[in-house]
């Protein structure tokens, strides 16, 4: 990583405006030239890209959604030939159809720089030992964070499948100084430390980085105090790009967006009109440096607002608030984005003429996000043999895990229970 990128104060507002304009114009030229989806859409709306004179004009262009990505499955959103792609990253998406994100060598390098910046700002140096604890659904992020930490020159222990107790044991024995995980798993680790009577004094931890979820203030206080660490949160999209598009600075109030790689907009989720600073809306991102997978006005589904006024840390990149919610029915579970329609799709594989009805219940157990599916006991599912029913459920759990990388539990319910009036129409009960 160059010192220039590292030292964020060097990027002046005027420089940044020129940089964004240049990259935006070339990104749009490339997207138009190489991705039929964008060409068709811009032509259809009579958009002349050569009239785009300021970054603000971006608001004249149409949005791109997760549905668009799924519609162009697998490779139709790619802007480079496949032989330039060095990494293919599948994503379950949030519709019935998955999508695929591709990276060129240069894209991976850029992502590495973005991730390294997040880790550097939070205090990671080449002398650190970094341990990454993320669940399989976030494996793409796990790789990005590993590469970012390696770029700094730290010693990295990538994500591995180990029990929490074993992770903690490794943390103690390896003298891990930096932990990267999700907010809920960090809290869970704290709880397990009590169970196995592992004292924080015996750990060498100095910094914790959390991604994939909002961290409540009391959790942050707990972790910082009980573990004796500084905590830095990052914001990203688990299914599309880097885990730290947004990063916390020393001020720890909201995320600076890496505006040298992305253009940030906040829009009203219903009207699509730009929100004024301070007003909550949907985060919309446009890539500036992406070669393989240019995204023009991508609707993230995450809600936040832009913070006004300069940041005490001196960084000129715009700052957004904590993520305050999500649009539509996209759920975030342990950092993984999912949609009830995906569960529905899995259920269609069950025997019987009509797929059973279901409700998704989200709750926390020992700070960890848990998913429980309440499944209607239908005739197709019913059998005299308990084992056959159990096999069905096992198969279902396996399929959900394959699709989303999430462990779920399934409870069979009588039809009457699912008819109950108090159940929300969205078929989602979020108790978190």
């Amino acid at each position: 990583m160059t010192t220039r990128e590292n030292n964020l104060k060097d990027i002046g507002t005027e420089d940044l405006a020129q940089l964004q304009l240049e990259h935006l114009q070339s990104t749009l030229n490339r997207a138009y030239k190489n991705v039929p989806f964008y060409k068709k859409r811009f032509d259809g709306l009579g958009i002349d890209l050569s009239t785009l004179d300021v970054v603000r004009d971006l608001s004249k262009l149409p949005f791109t959604t997760r549905q668009d990505l799924a519609d162009n499955y697998p490779y139709d959103m790619f802007a480079v030939p496949l032989r330039d792609i060095v990494r293919i990253s599948p994503s379950a998406g949030t519709t019935a159809k998955p999508f695929v994100v591709g990276f060129t060598r240069g894209d991976l390098k850029a992502r590495q720089r973005i991730t390294a910046r997040f880790l550097t700002v939070g205090g990671t140096t080449e002398t650190d030992i970094v341990q990454i604890c993320l669940n399989p659904g976030l494996s793409s992020w796990g790789r990005a964070l590993k590469e970012g930490a390696e770029d700094i020159g730290a010693s990295v222990m990538p994500m591995t499948h180990m029990s929490t107790a074993k992770q903690l044991l490794a943390m103690k024995d390896y003298r891990t100084s930096v932990l990267i995980t999700t907010p809920s798993y960090a809290m869970h680790m704290l709880r397990v430390m009590q169970t196995i009577e592992l004292d924080a004094d015996r750990l060498a931890l100095k910094a914790v980085f959390v991604v994939g979820g909002t961290i409540p203030t009391d959790w942050r206080r707990h972790l910082e105090k009980d573990l004796g660490v500084t905590l830095t949160a990052g914001y990203g999209l688990s299914d599309i790009t880097a885990p730290a598009i947004g990063f916390e600075c020393s001020d720890k109030s909201g995320f600076h967006i890496s505006e040298d790689h992305f253009i940030l907009e906040i829009v009203n989720p219903e009207s699509g009109q730009p929100c004024s600073p301070g007003q909550e809306g949907e985060i919309v991102l446009t890539t500036l440096t992406g070669r393989a997978f240019p995204l023009v006005r991508f609707r993230t589904g995450d809600l936040a607002s832009v913070k006004t006024g300069p940041c005490p840390c001196g960084t000129t990149f715009s700052r957004i608030s904590e993520i305050t919610g999500a649009t539509g029915q996209v759920l975030t579970v342990s950092g993984i984005k999912m949609h009830p329609a995906q569960i529905e799709q899995v259920l269609q594989a069950l025997p019987g003429p009509i797929p059973p009805r279901f409700v998704v219940r989200l709750y926390r157990e020992d700070y960890l996000d848990r998913v429980e599916i309440w499944l209607e006991m239908t005739e197709g599912l019913f059998s005299d043999e308990v084992k056959r029913v159990e096999d069905h459920l096992k198969e279902l759990r396996r399929r959900v895990f394959q699709m989303l990388g999430l462990e779920v539990s399934i409870k069979l319910m009588e039809s009457a229970t699912l008819d109950a009036d108090h159940l929300p129409a969205s078929r989602v009960i979020d108790e978190r």
């Binding site: 020129q18 304009l21 240049e22 990259h23 114009q25 070339s26 030229n29 490339r30 030239k33 890209l49 050569s50 009239t51 785009l52 004179d53 480079v80 030939p81 032989r83 330039d84 060129t104 060598r105 240069g106 390098k109 440096t289 070669r291």
Partner: protein, 249 residues
């Protein structure tokens, strides 16, 4: 040093440049690469004021220059070395150099002109040896050196180089590129337009790729040299492996 925003340029009704934005920081060498007819020379001509039909903003060190006459732009510190050298063939090397300092003669800067002459001769000892020779009798490489020297006589802060490698033997190209690096080390900022993408990217910090009048890519020279599209289109690589791959099937 140089900042261009939304530059459009026309030849008659034909649009040669479409919404081009780029910048060159002080002390940088920046390459503009692209195929024949992509608009590279048009861009340089627009910056130096030779091309009148244009729209957009051009700044040199924060002051706007897009409406200035060419000689005012030279005075602002921008000199262009045109494609194909375009030296004054019937005149001597010395006369060519003196013409490069034309604006400064009017200001009676004779003393400093003499200093610059000796600096140029230091940079290109060959020209010193041939200062009385008729310029048209110089070799291609020497003519290119003369063209660069002539531009330097205006004491530019920013040098615009149009295809400096054109028609030169590979060894001479290396020589010219080395000289450009030395100029940068002396504090001259350089915007270089080249079809020989490899030669110019190797000596520059950053680059832009121009295609049919539009910028389609930019980045550090290292990133561009490793970019699949750039390799295929401008570095002449990949084609061989492509064909071999097909044979292998």
């Amino acid at each position: 040093m140089l900042k261009i925003k939304n530059l459009h340029a026309y030849y008659g009704r034909i649009r040669a440049l479409e919404n081009v934005s780029l910048h060159v920081r002080p002390g940088e060498i920046v390459s503009l690469i692209g195929a024949n007819g992509a608009g590279k020379t048009t861009l340089l001509n627009a910056v130096s004021g030779i091309l009148p039909r244009k729209r957009g903003e051009i700044y040199c060190e924060e002051s706007r220059i897009d409406r200035l006459a060419p000689e005012k732009i030279v005075a602002a510190g921008i000199s262009q070395v045109p494609e194909g050298r375009q030296i004054f063939a019937p005149m001597t090397v010395m006369e060519n150099l003196e013409l490069g300092a034309y604006l400064r003669y009017k200001k009676r800067e004779k003393e400093s002109i003499r200093t610059d002459l000796s600096r140029v001769f230091e940079l290109f000892p060959r020209l010193a040896e041939r200062s009385r020779q008729i310029a048209g009798t110089l070799s291609g490489g020497e003519q290119q050196m003369l063209a660069i020297s002539r531009a330097l006589m205006a004491r530019p802060k920013l040098l615009l180089l149009d295809e400096p490698s054109m028609g030169l033997a590979p060894l001479v190209v290396t020589d010219i590129m080395d000289t450009i690096c030395r100029l940068r080390d002396d504090g001259v900022t350089v915007l270089i337009v080249e079809q020989n993408a490899h030669a110019s990217l190797t000596i520059s910090e950053r680059g832009y790729v121009l295609e049919t009048g539009r910028i389609i890519l930019q980045g550090t020279s290292e990133d561009l040299l490793n970019d699949g599209d750039v390799k295929r289109a401008y570095l002449g690589k990949d084609y061989e492996t492509f064909v071999e791959g097909r044979d292998g099937q």
